[in-house]
């Protein structure tokens, strides 16, 4: 699993690639959190390269979303495959974290 952090139109973009399984979350959660939360910027998470997610990955996303909310910023997910989206929907995290189709839609969420 790879994680790349960049800036897109003034928001932070975190792009994951690979499987967000137990081992990957263990390896990346610290870096994801420290690279994103302290900055307190609106953040979009690119899931288009994620082939698998389970409850630990969901927990990681929620933890970072809560951290950003505490700093007055938000988190939006985009690009989930149908399989990843089923897990997002089944855990109902989509009730409190926006999930959209494309990067443009994700960025536009913060412009609205």
């Amino acid at each position: 699993m790879n994680l790349e952090i960049s800036d897109v139109s003034g928001v932070t973009k975190a792009a994951f690639a690979g499987r967000l399984d137990t081992a990957s979350v263990n390896a990346l959660e610290g870096r994801f959190t420290t690279d994103v939360v302290p900055a307190g910027k609106n953040t979009i998470v690119d899931l288009s390269g994620v082939s698998f997610i389970a409850s630990l990955g969901i927990r990681m996303l929620l933890t970072v979303a809560r951290g950003l909310t505490g700093r007055g910023a938000g988190l939006v997910l985009f690009g989930a495959t149908p399989e990843v989206f089923e897990i997002i929907e089944t855990t109902a995290i989509s009730d409190i974290i926006p999930v959209v189709g494309t990067e443009a839609e994700a960025v536009a969420t913060f412009a609205a």
């Binding site: 137990t22 698998f52 389970a54 933890t63 399989e83 089923e86 855990t91």
Partner: protein, 138 residues
């Protein structure tokens, strides 16, 4: 044409982080002849991940035993461990998220298992925790 995997699947693994991926790969190799849909494969992998990861991270077990078989249109998966008695289903379902500021991270793994399977059961047998689930194969 979809073929059934030959025989049943039995794997013993140490209760260790690396066993999750090793077990998943072995299980998927066994199920390959069944050419399951991407959706069903993912459900199976998520359920497997949740059950085995729970044991590795919380169970104080030394050994995990995984059995699988395709029958009656289902993948039957059984995961056993030699840890202290623990029924992962003996807890109420978590409350639905209502607000990001009050949402409690974690505790959703067993909810996923319940929702992605046709049935999920626990038993304590011969000093082992035994979880068995059925996942629709189509």
């Amino acid at each position: 044409m979809t073929d059934k995997p030959a025989g049943s699947f039995l794997l013993r693994l140490p209760s260790a982080l690396e066993s999750i991926e090793a077990g998943r790969c072995a299980l998927m190799d066994y199920l390959a002849p069944a050419t399951l849909s991407a959706r069903m494969t993912n459900r199976l992998e998520v359920v497997f991940e949740e059950l085995v990861s729970n044991i590795v991270r919380h169970g104080a077990a030394t050994e995990i035993r995984v059995e699988a078989e395709m029958r009656d249109g289902e993948v039957h998966l059984a995961v056993e461990d030699d840890g202290p008695a623990f029924d992962p289903f003996d807890r109420p379902a978590p409350l639905r998220y209502t607000d990001i500021t009050t949402a409690t991270p974690g505790g959703r793994g067993i909810e996923l298992v319940r929702k992605l399977t046709r049935h999920a059961d626990y038993a304590r047998r011969d000093g082992r925790n035994c979880v068995s689930v059925g996942i629709a194969a189509a």
